[in-house]
């Protein structure tokens, strides 16, 4: 296999852009080093912040002495909780309330009485440079009284367990029991019941750019501007308005280039409030840029879950019911409600017909950094539990793993398929479209699953261990309630598209330009897409949950259609002809019968924006522009199957992935070049989750992997060439027929890889129940199983 699956971009000159491998409009400046990331911003008189953080996982703050820090030359201010204005002494507001949440606790900007994870900020210094600010942090004396620690989410549920928050009655953040069908009958009459407990440990997103914020206050206008490396500018604006008690009309959040996000840049963090408070207080711009150690300590993480799952089956392998109980370690706070574990629960059924299900979920506080969605958002854990238990069921029944799954797949004629749950968007979890059997088969065919037994036997005869694994998923994407876009013809004839959704590398600017250019019959280069600026559009939800092309993309599409109609109407009025006589092309409206009679878009825009002496046709409102907020009726569900073939070194537990096939269906593709990138990149993330990325804490909840030497991200030599099979079942739920694609690759990766590892070592009977499955664990399991007492070859 080579890298030939990467097909370079192609040129398009027929005015059609949707479905084409169009080169990205973002790239030129990024390749020249001319990006505008938040730390690239240099404002006159700018000061720099640094945070002093608690070294304890849980401690009472006895006293803080900042005198020496304040006295240091170059220091402009030192803030503790008591120094903050009253509204900023509140906790970060709850964004996702839910009746199942018992204690909806957000973080304070600076801890007031107790710190509840190692890394929680207790003081914030603002100085002439970051260097001086860090010097000053070292001069602050904090007296702590260490408190007992909630470190293990299972032990945290025991009576009398140490409390994460001293004022709470226990460590349960949220609790829910959900299900459908007759679960008792499903298990009572079952031919087989298989059960297992699975553990998945947390990692983090580790966008290559850390978090960062700059705030600037203009006393003359009362305007506060905040630049952020985030995912949801309007969400950050709402929180800033609350924490600073600020007039929203005088508050602007801007996200220029963002160096990756993958989920954790979505919640609101204390440091953003702190730079804003300081900028207002000092009347100087203030910058704070997170360093990587701070990212390890304070930026949200995900995946910590313990699952006990049981499946009841018929003798022929058909599933009768699934019962599970799951404990989710949320860390010390709920920055994104209980969304992640709830998504886990509702993702469990996957592409399979499951007549009955019962799930019991407990969300637990521990004295660790908080968790919130990381690429995949609770789904990788669900797919891991479900696919691993199906592997066990296949072993129990003596049936091929793919065959067992095939017998349970939802058939295309069953669409739309009502799973039985209520999804996170509050709507019934109803799969809208897709051909799951075709997708599974495509993956198996491309991977030559049928020929694997032969390959495995041949390799084994040479003393090598080959395994194959598969996993499938269904993912709710394109969640509402809405995302908006404004499409405007400017007086220079160019098209502006404005949306609140902020890209962090997904190529939205290209995708939206493709949609708008095709509707308005202009070249792609004539479209300027402006993202992530709260002054550009009044409302926005944010870039997360694989929702932007569905929501904002359709908004661009629908708004552009209105603008096209306005162009035609105004041109017909000006050219004194019937609207059917107008044709659009090359940035102008012309008469079909007399192409010399034409008006440029710029000229029409000029007229549409109001000129004395010119009137409008009847029913025409000012401006060649339209704002649309596309509001989907429910989420749209993408699906996929991963098949992984790998070799494992028995002596070291190291794997080498030999073939990775991903068949996926994310509906209509706007730009296959970008979609390929999303699929491959998200698989790389999943490979990290499967065998490398392990955020570790000791028994006292002290983080012990806080740099890239201790916490391993996949390198170029860890990620194989991925083979992608695109299936395109258009979603019936939106005009473009699109579904989300940003997370699909991550979701089945750990399940498929660990399945393949287990398969490779099947002769030793080792069972793997955890992710990440790091080499030393493979070694331990093999040693326990006595593998090293027998030679590899007889």
């Amino acid at each position: 296999m080579d890298v030939s699956d990467i097909r370079p971009a192609t040129l398009t000159d027929d005015g059609r852009y949707i479905g084409k491998r169009v080169m990205r409009t973002e790239d030129d400046k990024l390749l020249k080093g001319q990006g505008a990331y938040v730390d690239d911003l240099h404002l006159p008189g700018m000061l720099h912040g640094a945070a002093l953080r608690s070294p304890h996982a849980h401690a009472r703050i006895v006293s803080i002495d900042t005198a020496a820090a304040r006295a240091l030359k170059g220091v402009h201010a030192v803030y503790t909780h008591a120094d903050l204005p009253a509204p900023a002494q509140a906790r970060v507001p709850s964004m996702l309330p839910n009746p199942a949440i018992r204690l909806d606790r957000g973080q304070e900007l600076l801890a007031s009485r107790e710190t509840t994870f190692a890394g929680e900020a207790v003081a914030f210094v603002v100085a002439e440079s970051r260097y001086i600010a860090e010097d000053a942090c070292a001069l602050i004396e904090v007296e702590y009284e260490p408190l007992p620690v909630s470190a293990d989410c299972r032990k945290a549920l025991e009576p009398g367990a140490p409390l994460c928050h001293s004022d709470a009655k226990d460590n349960i953040a949220a609790q829910v029991d959900v299900g459908f069908g007759d679960i008792a009958a499903a298990f009572d009459g079952a031919a087989h019941v298989v059960e297992e407990t699975y553990w998945q440990n947390r990692g983090s997103a580790h966008s290559m750019e850390t978090r960062g914020y700059v705030a600037e206050f203009h006393p003359a206008s009362g305007q506060l501007t905040v630049w952020s490396s985030g995912q949801a500018p309007h969400h950050e604006k709402k929180n800033l308005a609350t924490l600073l008690d600020w007039d929203p009309e005088r508050l602007r959040v801007i996200m220029n280039d963002v160096g990756g996000g993958f989920g954790p840049k979505l919640p609101f963090y204390p440091e953003e409030g702190l730079v804003a408070v300081a900028a207002v207080d000092l009347k100087r711009p203030v910058k704070w840029i997170e360093d990587r150690r701070e990212y390890f300590l304070t930026t949200t993480q995900e995946r910590d879950q313990w699952w006990t799952i049981a499946v009841a089956l018929e003798a022929d392998g058909r599933i009768r019911g699934v019962r599970l109980s799951m404990i989710h370690d949320n860390g010390a706070f709920l920055p994104w409600g209980m969304i992640t574990p709830y998504i886990s629960i509702t993702t469990t059924p996957g592409p399979y017909v499951i007549p009955a299900m019962a799930a019991d979920l407990k969300v637990v506080f521990t004295n660790k950094g908080a968790t919130s969605p990381v690429r995949g958002a609770g789904r990788p854990q669900a797919v891991f539990a479900m696919e691993r238990i199906l592997d066990k069921a296949a072993r129990t029944l003596g049936m091929d793993r793919a065959e067992l799954r095939r017998r349970n797949l939802i058939q295309p004629e069953q669409m739309p398929y009502d799973v039985g749950f209520i999804y996170r968007d509050g709507k019934p979890l109803k799969y809208d479209s897709g051909d799951y059997p075709a997708c599974q088969q495509a993956a198996l065919d491309h991977a030559d699953y049928a020929g694997f037994a032969h390959r495995k036997a041949q390799a084994r005869a040479q003393g090598r261990f080959l395994g194959i694994g598969l996993a499938s998923f269904v993912e709710g994407t394109g969640m509402g309630p809405f995302e908006g876009a404004t499409v405007r013809v400017q007086r220079n004839g160019r098209i502006a598209v404005l949306t609140g959704a902020t890209p962090q590398g997904q190529g939205h600017k290209t995708t939206f330009a493709q949609i708008a250019a095709e509707q308005l019959h202009v070249q792609l280069e004539q479209v300027d897409v402006i993202t992530g600026d709260t002054s550009g559009i009044s409302m926005g939800v944010g870039t997360f949950a694989s929702r932007i092309t569905v929501n904002a993309g359709n908004s661009v599409y629908l708004a552009a259609q209105i603008v096209r109609q306005k162009l035609i109407k105004l041109a017909a009025f000006m050219l004194k002809c019937d609207e059917t006589e107008i044709t659009l092309g090359a940035g102008a409206a012309s008469m079909l019968s007399n192409p010399d009679r034409r008006m440029g878009y710029g000229e029409l825009a000029h007229i549409s924006q109001g000129m004395p002496g010119f009137s409008f046709p009847e029913g025409f409102t000012g401006g060649l522009e339209e704002t649309h907020y596309f509001t989907p009726s429910q989420s749209t569900y993408c699906n996929g199957t991963a098949v992984v073939e790998l070799e494992i070194d028995r002596d070291t537990g190291q794997i080498k992935i030999l073939d990775y096939v991903m068949a996926h269906d994310s509906g209509k593709l706007i730009n296959p070049l970008i979609v390929d990138g999303q699929v491959i990149g998200s698989i790389a993330h999943g490979i990290g989750n499967a065998t490398l990325e392990w955020m570790q804490y000791d028994e006292g909840a002290q983080p012990i992997t806080t740099n890239f030497g201790e916490y391993l991200l996949p390198m170029a030599t860890d990620v194989p060439n991925i083979r992608i099979v695109h299936l395109e079942t258009p979603s019936p739920l939106n005009p473009l027929g699109v579904k989300g694609v940003g997370e699909g690759g991550t979701i089945p990766a750990a399940a498929a890889i660990v399945s393949a590892m287990e398969d490779a070592l099947s002769e030793y009977g080792v069972i793997f129940t955890e992710a990440p499955l790091v080499p030393q664990r493979v070694f331990e399991k093999l040693k326990e199983a006595g593998a090293y007492e027998v030679p590899v070859l007889p």
């Binding site: 890298v3 370079p8 790239d27 390749l31 730390d39 260097y131 990138g677 990149g681 990620v719």
Partner: protein, 169 residues
């Protein structure tokens, strides 16, 4: 504050500056010369986003002090594009192969691969992968970067072959 006077050539321009001895080269480039194309991803020498060429060899600008480059020559990502503003072969291939998404690791990747393509005109896929193990990318899964490096190497070879044929004529 302990300072040193340094003279350094960055992208062909000579700078004489008084720098704090503890100031890193990356901070000097980014915040003093405002060459912000070089990025900091980890500040402990693992991620490679801050990679620059120091006298033609890759170096971590986060682990190098500005005071250390006195009398030395630096190249950053800003030097790669041609004088007319068009992209060089490697940058062009990156764009065509979608070898960047968020773009944050890209400058470091480009500098490492610029060094590689200067050393060998026909690198294998394995050599390219090995060369960029010191550059972490969280977006692309590396495959498009490898494809772009292979494409750029091929075009550079073809251009060289074409040039030598012309020369003979």
């Amino acid at each position: 504050m302990d300072t040193r006077k340094i003279t350094t050539v960055v992208n062909g321009v000579t700078y004489e500056r008084e720098v704090e001895t503890r100031r890193t080269l990356g901070d000097f480039l980014r915040h003093e010369l405002e060459l912000t194309g070089t990025h900091y991803g980890c500040e402990h020498g693992v991620c490679g986003a801050c990679t620059v060429l120091l006298d033609g060899r890759t170096a971590r600008s986060c682990l190098t002090l500005a005071a250390q480059v006195d009398g030395h020559e630096i190249r950053t990502v800003e030097s790669l594009a041609r004088a007319d503003g068009t992209l060089d072969e490697l940058q062009t291939a990156f764009r065509e192969c979608h070898a960047l998404q968020c773009g944050f690791c890209t400058p470091g990747m480009l500098m490492t691969l610029t060094e590689l393509l200067g050393e060998t005109d026909d690198p294998s896929e394995e050599e390219i992968r090995e060369a960029i193990t010191g550059n972490l990318c969280r977006c692309t899964g590396y495959q498009p970067i490898v494809a772009a490096a292979l494409l750029a190497a091929r075009r550079l070879r073809e251009a060289k072959a074409g040039a030598s044929i012309q020369h003979k004529e």
